[in-house]
């Protein structure tokens, strides 16, 4: 009676591919199954025959390697390779440079944007105004010190200039005793005072700082993942 229970195991048994347990199981089965015992014998004979067939002294034809090289020569494979070696190296280095810049650009841009945001968040972006204010402040101090200086300058100003000042003063109401100042400069003085207060009183812009830190972190992670 045909038995196919151990068919796969018999096929694997012939080249010692079974585990110790599987082999024991098979041999135990064969003890009581004539069909499988016969199958195993035939399988072993056929396996040995194919192994012997594989040991024949079959070799490639004489001058086979020469024929391969000749065929490649006919196709111009070696000449093409030598010429294209420089070109392909240049192409490769261009590709490498392009892919390198692609790889780091995104991450670096994010990190840089993050840095800018953090900076603006802390300073309010007002460093240039601070510098201006400092300059204004020092000129204001000079003004305070030098009312006398003004007097001197008034004394020195020619008639035509004074006339200009009087005409100007005529445009605005001036209280008695007040030094004659141009309208604009008075307003500027007021504006300067306001911006000075702002400069002295900057509070950090936390959302912007957080956004900046997030940008730096994301950029850093990007660069790490690209280059690891």
């Amino acid at each position: 009676m045909k038995c196919t229970i151990m068919e796969q195991k018999i096929a694997a048994f012939v080249d010692d591919s079974l585990s110790v347990e599987e082999e024991k199981h098979l041999l135990d089965h064969i003890e009581g199954c004539k069909f499988c015992k016969n199958t195993l014998e035939i399988q072993q004979i056929i396996y040995e025959k194919y192994r012997t067939m594989g040991e024949d002294e079959l070799t490639a034809p004489v001058d086979f390697s020469v024929s391969v090289i000749d065929e490649l020569d006919k196709q111009g494979a070696f000449a093409k390779d030598r010429e294209s070696k420089t070109l392909s190296r240049k192409r490769e280095s261009k590709k490498t440079f392009r892919s390198f810049t692609k790889r780091w650009f995104g991450g670096a841009a994010l990190a840089a944007a993050g840095l800018v945001l953090v900076f603006i968040g802390f300073t309010g972006g007002e460093i240039p105004l601070i510098a201006m204010d400092d300059a204004m402040e020092s000129s204001e101090m000079a003004d305070d010190m030098g009312v006398a200086t003004d007097d001197v300058s008034v004394q020195e100003v020619p008639e035509s200039e004074r006339a200009r000042g009087e005409v100007y003063n005529g445009d605005s109401e001036i209280a008695d005793g007040e030094p004659p100042v141009a309208e604009d400069s008075e307003n500027d003085f007021g504006a300067m005072e306001t911006s000075e207060d702002e400069v002295r009183d900057i509070s950090p812009n936390y959302p912007m700082i957080l956004a900046g830190l997030f940008g730096i972190l994301t950029g850093g992670v990007w660069l790490y993942l690209r280059f690891r």
Binding site: A11, I42, Y47, A60, K85
Partner: protein, 192 residues
């Protein structure tokens, strides 16, 4: 030492060095030819298949990663080239397989119809060796490759898995099924 020599030859061949590639061919031509012969069934087709394989190997050298095993990479190309040629020739309806045991022991060709045409051809074999060649031809392509690489060429399961690009489990399964089919066909011949 052999590993280092091979690395030097591969590097040289990649750079277009003719001599380096010729040395590589000499190193592997015999086993490549044997695989092709088992797959194709006759010497003429085996020679064509092997030559075409080495040309493809040269053309593909730039894709070979030096961390991989060169021989399994190379035999994969040989195997695939043989399969491609067999598919083209199957359209011919006849594939010559060299037999043995003719008059005075000379070799002759046995025209083989497509597999599945019945056991008649195998039963007409003049010797067990001829029957074994025909039987090998008659089992399915994927089982045939696995049996050739394992039982005839003695590759390990790991190497066969790399050549055929399948898992070791699938390799074992295909080898076992191939052996079972061969046994069934040859049992009928032996019983005649």
């Amino acid at each position: 030492m052999k590993q280092i020599d091979e690395e030097v030859l591969i590097k040289g061949a990649k750079n277009g060095d003719k001599e380096c590639f010729r040395e590589l061919v000499l190193l592997y031509q015999d086993q490549a030819y044997r695989i092709a012969y088992r797959m194709m069934g006759n010497q003429e087709d085996a020679k064509d298949a092997t030559q075409e394989s080495f040309i493809k190997i040269y053309r593909s050298l730039h894709t070979f990663k030096e961390e991989s095993n060169f021989s399994t990479w190379m035999y994969r190309i040989v195997n695939n080239t043989c399969l491609d040629l067999l598919r083209k020739r199957k359209r011919r309806k006849e594939i010559p397989i060299e037999g043995t045991g003719g008059k005075d022991g000379e070799e002759y060709e046995i025209p083989i119809e497509d597999p599945g045409d019945g056991p008649e051809v195998l039963l007409q074999a003049k010797s067990l060796q001829e029957a074994m060649k025909i039987a090998l031809w008659e089992i399915s392509e994927e089982y045939r490759t696995a049996v050739i690489l394992r039982d005839l060429e003695q590759f390990s399961y790991q190497e066969i898995a790399e050549i055929m690009k399948i898992s070791q489990g699938t390799v074992k399964s295909r080898i076992n099924r191939g052996r079972i089919q061969l046994r069934e066909k040859l049992t009928a011949y032996l019983e005649e």
